[in-house]
């Protein structure tokens, strides 16, 4: 086994809907990963945290609000900072048509409500970030 996979899970500090992301944090930890779970005030804080924590993946959780703006802003910033090698995945109440838009922005994976199993997220991060 090499080094532990380091993952940043984050969510807006305004949004209380966190049951899902906390559960994912627990599952990734159970799978042996180092999970950094934060709340951001503005999305622009996230790339710096990812850099400091030296993570190979960033997972964002949304309950709709701010989804498109925050994600596009994050992808722009990662590009600017030449951090595109970081895997970005999203989860939350996301609609099909939004999924396509998000993938076009360069997001690696979008997990929609009730689609698939929690384990899919663990497997995805393992395969991408190992």
């Amino acid at each position: 086994m090499g080094q532990k996979i380091r993952v940043l899970l984050t969510k807006s500090d305004q949004d209380a809907h966190e049951m899902g992301v906390r559960h994912i944090a627990g599952l990734l930890r159970d799978a042996g990963m180092e999970v950094i779970f934060t709340r951001y005030h503005v999305i622009d804080e996230v790339p710096a945290v990812a850099e400091q924590e030296d993570v190979s993946a960033i997972g964002l959780s949304f309950y709709g609000s701010g989804l498109i703006y925050d994600t596009s802003r994050l992808m722009e910033q990662l590009k600017k900072k030449e951090m595109q090698d970081i895997t970005v995945f999203l989860g939350g109440t996301i609609m099909e048509k939004e999924k396509d838009e998000l993938l076009k922005m360069g997001v690696d994976m979008v997990f929609m409500p009730g689609v698939g199993k929690f384990q899919d997220i663990v497997d995805f991060v393992t395969s991408k970030a190992a």
């Binding site: 305004q14 049951m19 701010g66 802003r73 609609m95």
Partner: protein, 575 residues
């Protein structure tokens, strides 16, 4: 509850029942599972008989409307006062929200109580920035303005919402969380400044939910500051707004965060007790404090557990406020069940029409538990704020339950059911067990500060999700009988350009005020907030009036809230 002969007879009959059961289980090809537990961990029996309620004294039950109000707060209920439609809404601008209200009214969603003139109901959900005290032009608000609720940051919003409405004929719930206090101040400022009306006419509840960090970990005020702010706020409402309720007993959000039903009640009960104690310290009679909470229980699909939970809460509330606080007014002994809410966590994104069935079952539980009213969530809320069509179905759900069925004919139809009465007793014991555990751990504030409450909620939430993942908790169409892979539902989303209009408006609002006056009023807010921080409880009563004055002087929500954030060290205290 029963004569000894009945219990003797019951014992004999139970032997016969056991023989029958043995025959049935022997015959079956597979073993029959008879070991069920409620989500709160109460073990259930396959049947209930008089022996299960033999220990219950009839006086602990009594008819509805008699102490300890197990069967309901009123002698009769839906025969006289219909099941209230407490439909929450809010989107985009004040104008859009007012249009949604007009649509709801067209469907018949108003309060009708007896022959009195009926009331307009504003149960306003806020967008995320408003809930966290941010104006629409705050950088952190970008992409979130008006999206999952209305943006309310200044008096002009109130002006659009309340224009041409007589204030005493509007019932308002401001679902503002961290901003609840300031939203109330803005409403009061609007009434005084723009309508020249006294505070006494205001009829509202503001969800000044400063203690939310024990159920979720978004930013918030530190526990001791949160408690002071809750007390400051509640005492102002109690003294100034006789029609209004000062605090929610907000089971809904704790339940949505994952707490099981017994935890939901125990944590809220602990908060209510602590708040009434704090209010006593600033000279408020417990009768005034206890009588003005707004109960807001969470409902899940655990139909009987929810009914028993609500009945147990009523009994427990009556006992605690009578025995511990010496309350004697009926309204103080009533656990006010103004509005339950059907659980969003039960709704699924797959096959959303199934959510109509789920919310119907949950609202039926509310009626069986003699709840005043309910917010029946719309079937598409698993993805976003509801469409007009989904709202229509929710309104029709109340109307069908209330007007097409025989449910309202008899108050507390389940009263006396061996099962429901026995489960009510067990739920009460379970709630008391958690309250005792909290005492053992050093009391409510300790449990909050140490993150114990937060971890309890989180554990229950994770346990539930694991059960769904393993298929032990069935969600039809999602983890069983699945045919639809990707949710086909569409949710309301707002174009980012719509934000620019809101930003323009707030800029104009600030430009049109006397900024010297605003500055001065905000200085007074800071002074009052510092006094609350440093000189408590002597300073109680200083902050709310300062906020109202600042609102009148044109200060915005964000300007006032940022002072509170600064003075009280807003941040992360979830544990």
């Amino acid at each position: 509850m029963f004569l000894p002969q009945v219990l003797e007879e019951d014992k004999k009959k139970l032997i016969q029942w056991q023989e029958q059961l043995a025959m049935m289980t022997r015959r079956g090809p597979a073993p029959i599972n008879l070991e069920f537990k409620t989500t709160s961990g109460v073990a259930l029996k396959p049947i209930y008989t008089p022996l299960d309620v033999a220990g219950l004294k009839y006086e602990e039950m009594g008819p509805p409307g008699t102490y300890p109000f197990t069967r309901g707060n009123y002698p009769i209920h839906y025969q006289a006062v219909p099941f209230l439609m407490n439909q929450g809404y809010g989107m985009g601008t004040a104008k859009e929200t007012r249009e949604r209200r007009n649509w709801l009214e067209k469907l018949g969603s108003r309060f009708h109580v007896g022959d009195e003139a009926d009331m307009t109901v504003y149960i306003l959900t806020m967008d995320l920035p408003t809930q966290r005290g941010l104006d629409p032009d705050d950088p952190a608000a970008r992409g979130k303005v008006g999206e999952c609720g209305i943006s309310m940051s200044n008096l002009d919003v109130f002006k659009v919402l309340y224009e041409n409405l007589s204030l005493e004929q509007v019932f308002t719930i401001l679902i503002g969380f961290d901003s609840g206090m300031i939203l109330t101040a803005l409403y009061a400022a609007y009434a005084q400044k723009m309508r020249n009306e006294p505070f006494e006419k205001l009829f509202f509840v503001s969800c000044n939910y400063f203690h939310h960090q024990w159920c979720w970990d978004s930013a918030g005020f530190p526990p001791s500051a949160a408690m002071k702010l809750c007390t400051e706020y509640s005492s102002w409402v109690i003294k100034n707004c006789p029609l209004s309720m000062h605090s929610p007993m907000d089971g809904y959000n704790v339940g949505e965060a994952g707490a099981n039903p017994a935890q939901e009640v125990a944590f809220n009960m602990a908060h209510s007790i602590a708040l009434v104690e704090e209010l006593q310290k600033v000279g408020i009679d417990p009768n005034d404090a206890a009588g003005r909470f707004m109960g807001h229980p969470h409902l899940s699909l655990n139909f009987f557990e929810e009914i028993a939970k609500i009945r147990a809460t009523r009994r427990l509330w009556a006992r605690i406020f009578k025995e511990r606080f010496g309350c004697n007014r009926p309204e103080a002994l009533h656990y006010n069940t103004f509005t339950a809410q059907t659980g969003g966590i039960e709704s699924m994104a797959q096959e959303p029409l199934n959510n109509i069935i789920r919310t119907t079952i949950m609202s039926l539980a509310a009626m069986m538990a003699d709840i005043d009213g309910c917010w029946i969530t719309s079937y598409d809320e698993a993805l976003g704020i509801p469409t007009a069509e989904a709202v229509q179905v929710a309104v029709r759900t109340y109307q069908i339950l209330s007007e097409e069925t025989d449910i309202p004919y008899v108050t507390d139809p389940l009263g006396g059911s061996y099962y429901v009465e026995a489960l009510t007793v067990r739920m009460e014991e379970e709630i008391l067990r958690i309250l005792k555990e909290m005492d053992r751990l050093g009391g409510y504030m300790k449990c909050w500060e140490s993150g114990w409450i937060r971890s309890q909620v989180n554990n229950s939430a994770r346990e539930r999700l694991k059960k769904i993942e393993r298929g032990e908790k069935v969600k039809v169409g999602t983890n069983k009988y699945r045919v639809e892979d990707t949710p086909k539902m569409h949710a309301y989303r707002r174009p980012i350009e719509a934000e620019d209009a809101a930003i323009e408006e707030i800029k104009k609002y600030r430009a049109n005020r006397d900024s010297r006056k605003t500055e001065q009023a905000l200085k007074e807010v800071r002074k009052a907030a510092k006094a609350i921080d440093k000189d408590w409880p002597n300073s109680c009563g200083s902050l709310m009036p300062a906020l109202v004055e600042a609102g009148k002087a044109g200060a915005t929500l964000g300007e006032m809230h940022s002072i509170l954030r600064d003075v009280f060290n807003y941040g992360y205290y979830a544990g």
